[in-house]
Symmetry: none
Subunit: 145 residues, 2 copies
Amino acid sequence: MFLGTYRHAVDSKGRLAIPARFREQLPTGSIISKGAEGCLQVYGPDEWVKEQSALQLTSESPAEERRLTRMRFGAARECEFDAQGRIVLSADQRGYAGITGIAWIVGVNNLIEIWNDENWRRIGEATPEEYTRIQDQVAERRRGK
Amino acid sequence: MFLGTYRHAVDSKGRLAIPARFREQLPTGSIISKGAEGCLQVYGPDEWVKEQSALQLTSESPAEERRLTRMRFGAARECEFDAQGRIVLSADQRGYAGITGIAWIVGVNNLIEIWNDENWRRIGEATPEEYTRIQDQVAERRRGK
DNA sequence: CACAAAGTGGGGAATGGTGGGGAAAATGGG
DNA sequence: CCCATTTTCCCCACCATTCCCCACTTTGTG
């Protein structure tokens, strides 16, 4: 279970330190790929298999699914931690998420997300009014509709 | 599992270096054929058998399947790596994929794809907005509709 | 206030991609 | 059937990138 928000530096080599609390839960490394709303997502091995095993490229995949499969896996990388607990973000990954200099590392229950300043402020922060409204929206959708 | 996107040169002899990370998973060589949207596809031996065993030319095959079978297998080639980890793309394969000078090599979970610049930019790259939209489309289709 | 743990930064060695030359094999024409 | 030309394959050398290691700074804790 990944919880909390951390603000870490990305150095000139694209290295980003993953918080020690998160690292402890990823003893065998992790997989990083693109996510919705311009974030990057870090999966543990088990969670990755669970999420992605359904997405395979076969001659029966429809066009949209082919495209998603290519983007998702093409953007993904297995990454291990160096002796300092860092991973390396590729130039492509940094470009997609708009990451330069600093990044927000957010624990989201089953996975970790990496955001740039601007996007995290837009998506992750909310006034009490917004928070309440969105919670109610989700509840309503689940109830029936 | 093949992950990541690499941009490699195709030299005047048609040679293309396959990323070391991919090569490790193909100790006994690979099979290369044509794929949808103008890419080339590289299969490991096991994946090739699994994918293509369903596609056989029999007296019961409908006309379209006959054609697909002929194209898929007619274009396919076994290929091994040279001491530098490169494969040789035939003139026919380069022509089909429109590859001149540089190629994108993309790991797509169960297989590897090879793209020219233009096509990969069109299919593989996406803004966060596009990526989010396509992911939602696929999710919606799967949910039921 | 001191010690330990965690994050940051840079330098050097090793790995991986690129390009060219030459030998062997295949092809085509006389 | 033999010779000439082209193509394929193998080997070697160079260069860029990546990875690993070490040292420093900052933060948190006893």
